[in-house]
């Protein structure tokens, strides 16, 4: 990768990224030439034929066409766009035709986090783990509104539709941790709906698959909770510093521990372990007054230990323990 | 400018002569027809695509429409188109009374059309064959009407309809509410045009009765006529597309 590519683009991690950047540079250089013709031509003509002080207002030339030039206006762009078209379509077909041996991972978008389901049965939240140098087929769908799954380093993007599948694929050629963004507007948390793709060497990936998250087993509960707080996307809706986003701040929840929480139907409950647990598993049942019932259920996405960890973490929050 | 020489009172000041004014209005009217075609066009696109996706559902849902009412309406509308054309023909020959009569007949036909439409809608509302989430229709009346098991079986076989013994009802196809959604929007928008057309025709009747329209100046009638024929023209497509899916 030369300097300019590095400056303009994120890393090239997928097998087709290089080709796409080259397509960019082809159009780029052609455009620069066309642009310079227009701008330099314009400057030159404007200055050369400028109306100077003291000039006489006179009749000007009646020249208004030149067949040779006019033909050029058509032919040169035509040639350029033909090349662009052929190149663009070739690259594109490369991007849509999924290799047969690809590993299939199911991605579900939901306001405002991503769930990844692996063929072997595991599932992760906001963290896509893939092996390096293996084609990965991503099958996308959404549970609510449109999202769009975008991995800049892979130059890959696909809209995530409710009630429909969409497909994309990539083949990562460099291990590392990269950004995933949501690029279709999906509501308040749209700009926080990001995730990570972790590309691992084959060996590590196998180990990871085998353990599938059990590495956290020996963390103390509060620390695990703190980790889950961002890993399970609680942070897209709940802050730790008292400001309300889509959901109430945890700081507030923890400070109200043991006190009454009023719901939008006028009923109320005491904030305690059970309340928090049911808030996470069945959020639609009691909706805190002043908020909307948009919190998704985490039924099946958290095991018991993880639930306990989150509750334990929540209890540790105090005014001065801001993260 | 010198438009004060001997210009008739119906000539607007910014035109040179009556012919320019007439031709301009007509061109404007046709441009308007183009926008009408494309407005309905959007709905035709929706129709085409959903029909291509769910041919069976469209077929089955179509059976719930009343062909006879559709047919009568087609005839009524064609008749009204004829009377509208004749109204213009009459005014061109300066037969004001005849023209007025023809306009009146057109108006009556339009009213008849809407009346029949009302009966049709009424029936559908009653059954719950409504668009979108209000759709609550649980099966065609056939069940009540046909007690002959063999006939029911035949109906089921030919129409791909499933009969639930427990509830004694027939259930149709996937998403019929979309069919009814499109049906109601298209016929509703068309009905709205008929209603607007009636208003315009009433206005023409007033103008004609007052002697404002005559052989030398009947632009309004010509323009409304074009509009009215468009209404007919759209129905010509709606009728087979909704009622006669065969």
């Amino acid at each position: 990768m030369d300097r300019l590519t590095e400056y303009l683009f994120p890393k090239q991690v997928s097998s087709f990224a290089h080709d796409i950047d080259n397509l960019f540079f082809f159009i780029f250089y052609a455009s620069v030439v066309l642009f310079l013709i227009v701008v330099i031509g314009m400057m030159y003509l404007a200055i050369k034929y400028r109306f100077k002080k003291g000039d006489e207002v006179r009749l000007t030339s009646s020249l208004d066409h030149n067949t040779f030039l006019e033909v050029l206006f058509f032919v040169i762009p035509l040639i350029l766009v033909t090349i662009t078209f052929v190149w663009g379509i070739r690259s594109y077909l490369n991007m849509v035709i999924v290799p047969d041996d690809a590993i299939e991972i199911k991605v579900t978008g939901q306001s405002w986090f991503w769930t990844f389901d692996y063929p072997e049965g595991g599932s992760t939240l906001n963290e896509l783990v893939v092996p390096v140098e293996t084609p990965i087929k991503i099958v996308l769908s959404s549970t609510d509104v449109l999202h769009s799954f975008y991995i800049p380093v892979m130059r890959a993007k696909m809209d995530v539709l409710p009630n429909r599948y969409n497909v994309m694929w990539f083949d990562a050629n460099q291990a590392g941790e990269y950004e995933i963004f949501c690029t279709e507007y999906c509501g308040t948390g749209h700009s926080n709906m990001n995730a990570k793709v972790i590309v691992m060497p084959q060996k590590m990936y196998e180990v990871w698959l085998a353990e599938a998250g059990s590495a956290d087993d020996d963390l103390p509960l509060e620390e695990l909770g703190a980790k889950l707080y961002s890993k399970k996307a609680c942070n897209t809706c709940h802050t730790l510093d008292g400001t309300a986003l889509v959901g109430p701040s945890y700081l507030q929840t923890s400070q109200m521990w043991g006190q009454e929480r009023v719901f939008d139907d006028g009923s109320s409950a005491i904030i305690d372990e059970n309340y928090v647990r049911s808030s996470i598993l069945e959020p639609q049942i009691q909706i805190v007054a002043g908020y909307q019932g948009v919190m998704p259920t985490y039924q099946g996405l958290l095991n018991d230990r993880e639930l306990d960890a989150l509750i334990a973490f929540l209890k540790t929050l105090k005014e001065d323990s801001q993260i | 400018m010198s438009h004060d020489k001997s210009s008739p009172d119906f000539l607007y000041h910014h035109f040179y002569d009556v012919n320019q004014q007439y031709e301009t209005s007509k061109l404007g009217m046709w441009a308007f027809i183009l926008t009408e075609v494309l407005t309905f066009g959007g709905l035709f696109v929706a129709y085409t695509i959903y029909r291509a996706w769910n041919p069976e559902m469209f077929f089955n849902a179509n059976l719930l429409l009343d062909v006879n009412k559709g047919l009568i309406n087609t005839i009524v509308l064609i008749a009204s188109s004829l009377t509208m054309a004749l109204a213009i023909w009459a005014i061109q020959l300066n037969k004001r009374k005849l023209s007025l009569l023809m306009l009146f007949l057109t108006f009556v036909c339009a009213l008849g059309f809407l009346g029949i439409k009302y009966l049709e809608y009424e029936h559908k509302f009653h059954l719950g064959q409504l668009p979108g989430e209000y759709y609550s229709y649980m099966g065609p009346e056939v069940v009540q009407e046909i007690h002959d098991q063999e006939k029911i079986n035949h109906y089921i076989e030919t129409n791909n309809i499933f009969f639930d013994k427990e509830t004694n009802r027939l259930y149709t196809m996937n998403n019929p509410h979309i069919f009814f959604g499109i049906y109601f929007i298209m016929t509703g928008l068309h009905g709205l045009h008929v209603a607007i057309g009636m208003g315009l025709i009433a206005w023409l009747m007033v103008l004609t009765a007052r002697g404002k329209l005559h052989a030398r100046y009947y632009t309004h009638m010509e323009a409304v006529g074009i509009f009215w024929h468009l209404v007919d023209l759209i129905w010509i497509f709606l009728f087979p597309l909704f009622y006669l899916i065969g």
Binding site: V57, S62, P152, S191 | S25, L38, I178
Partner: protein
């Protein structure tokens, strides 16, 4: 030129004579001020957004406020300013004058259009004051069918403004066809008229589809008819087809009048016959037509069929060719002319510069493989600001400066105008050029908060957007300031020595009925090789 005291501005008098006027020039002025007002509102929202984007977090407004701001910014700029403003303001004022007609074909309809526009605008103001709407100006389902913000009022507003736009288009088509003064044949029309004609064709063909789309969207919310909403069995991609079937051609509603303005400004201020008249005229029509075949290039990541992707990508490039012909023709018009660096000409030159960048980046986006990376990133944001703000708005400002003495009979301070023009040019590039970089690096659009890696470029862009706002403000204020009485020009003034009929056949500001005598065609609109009219600045 006859009775110099009678002009359309002062005759007849009284507020009612304005509100009920059938005079196309007055209606044009009302559009102009309505449009400028909404430009101002949209611009303030933009500056607010830029302020929020100066730093990565939620420092200035919350996510929800930001989302409302960009939606209203986009919707107001597009539906209340740029689509109605140029045809509605400059088009209305100039079209009959350029045709030698006394008015547009249907003056009453014209006033009615303006009132429809105003009613639509009221809906928008209501939305603005009642907490906003957050779907983006594209209203993609199913978000727009479930969002609990003010989607209904906004779509209703757009629906009504759509009708206003249709009626204006229809009126202009009839006017161009039937109201030309005797002897004014198609090839003697000023190119601005050709451009308006092309625009009007697009307006009447495309706009009905947005109207019906908005109706379907409202019905989707009210009844759940299930055409667009997947929860009801509908297809969200179909909504996108409907939306873009209008909104892609709509970008040509925005740009064609600008092309027309540039085709007027450059020959006049270069005092030179326009290069390739017929090519420019026909390229307008072919752009208008091809524009109807490419809408799917906004849906390259939506999951439409591969066949559509290829077809749309293919046709997209072909818009570039007639556009290129225009660009080169404008450039060559200056050849062997006498180019004066007046404010309109500065705007026209910066148009050439900026629009070429904007248009060429459109070609990047038209390449499917590349658009998959760039779609919904700031690259797209930069592209469309280059064509809309750098193209249309800059041309519009140029046109305003060009026809200001005609419309109001006053001359602004040209030095200040030149400074503002240069300011707009520099600050515009400062604001939006960096956004190409952001997009290439993967910064998604419609983000209230963003990854800290983008902060430098964002804050740079914010800085320049402030200067841009100030420059535009100075430019517009300079114009408004010129309206003082003491600035009156002699009604016979032709400050640029232009040859089109609105300059040579009537006074500035024009007579209430446009021409005191029936205009007689003596020369073509660009006959600078046959006729000399000396620029005059009489007070």
């Amino acid at each position: 030129m006859g009775d110099t005291n009678q002009n359309y501005l002062t005759h007849p008098k009284g507020i009612m004579s304005w509100l009920l006027t059938l005079d196309h020039k007055r209606i044009g002025l009302m559009y102009l001020f309505g449009g400028l007002f909404f430009f101002f509102v949209g611009g303030l929202l933009a500056l607010g957004m830029r302020a929020e984007l100066a730093a990565p977090g939620n420092d200035f407004v919350s996510n929800d406020t930001y989302n409302s701001m960009y939606t209203l910014h986009g919707a107001i700029m597009i539906f209340l300013f740029i689509i109605p403003a140029i045809p509605g303001a400059l088009g209305n004022i100039l079209l009959p004058l350029m045709l030698g007609a006394k008015d547009v074909a249907f003056p009453r309809l014209n006033l009615f259009s303006f009132y429809l526009y105003s009613i639509g605008a009221i809906f928008f103001i209501y939305v603005l004051l009642s907490g906003g709407v957050d779907t983006g100006w594209t209203f993609y389902t199913p978000y727009s069918t479930t969002s609990n913000t003010n989607v209904m009022s906004t779509t209703m507003g757009i629906f009504i403004i759509g009708f206003s736009s249709i009626l204006t288009g229809l009126n202009f088509i009839a006017t161009v066809h039937k109201m030309r003064t005797p002897g004014l044949t198609w090839y003697k029309l000023p190119l601005f008229v050709w451009a308006l004609y092309g625009t009007s064709l697009v307006q009447i063909t495309a706009t009905p589809v947005i109207a019906i789309t908005m109706v379907l969207l409202m019905l989707e919310r009210l009844l759940g008819i299930g055409i667009f909403d997947p929860a009801m069995g509908g297809d969200p991609v179909l909504f996108q087809h409907f939306f873009w079937f209008y909104s892609h051609p709509a970008v040509y509603i925005m740009i064609l009048p600008a092309f027309g303005i540039i085709s007027e400004i450059i020959p006049v201020h270069s005092r030179k016959k326009v290069w390739g008249y017929k090519f420019i005229a026909y390229s307008t029509l072919s752009i208008a037509f091809i524009g109807f075949l490419v809408w799917g290039h906004h849906m390259f990541t939506s999951g439409q069929s591969v066949l559509s992707q290829i077809v749309f990508s293919f046709i997209t490039y072909f818009v570039g060719i007639p556009t290129g012909v225009k660009i080169f023709s404008w450039m060559l018009t200056m050849y062997k002319g006498q180019v004066s660096f007046t404010p309109p000409m500065l705007y026209a030159l910066s148009f050439l510069f900026l629009f070429t960048i904007g248009g060429l980046t459109g070609i990047f986006l038209g390449a499917v493989a590349l658009d998959i990376h760039l779609h919904d990133t700031y690259f797209v944001v930069a592209h469309f600001h280059y064509v809309m703000q750098g193209g249309t708005i800059v041309a519009f400002l140029g046109g305003l400066h060009h026809w200001w003495p005609k419309s109001f009979g006053t001359m602004y301070n040209q030095t200040i105008a030149n400074i503002a023009a240069i300011g707009v040019f520099i600050a515009f590039n400062g604001t939006f050029f960096p956004q190409f970089l952001l997009g290439l690096r993967g910064m998604p659009r419609r983000y209230a908060t963003y990854d800290p890696q983008f902060v430098e470029v964002h804050s740079y862009s914010t800085f320049w957007s402030g200067i841009l706002g100030i420059s535009i403000f100075i430019g517009v204020m300079n114009l408004l300031w010129s309206l003082r009485k003491s600035n009156k020009l002699d009604p016979g003034t032709n400050p640029w020595g232009a040859l089109t009929m609105e300059w040579t056949h009537t006074s500035s500001p024009p007579h209430p009925h446009n021409f005191e005598e029936e205009p007689v065609l003596t020369h073509g609109p660009y006959d600078y090789d046959k006729v000399i009219v000396k620029p005059t600045f009489k007070k």
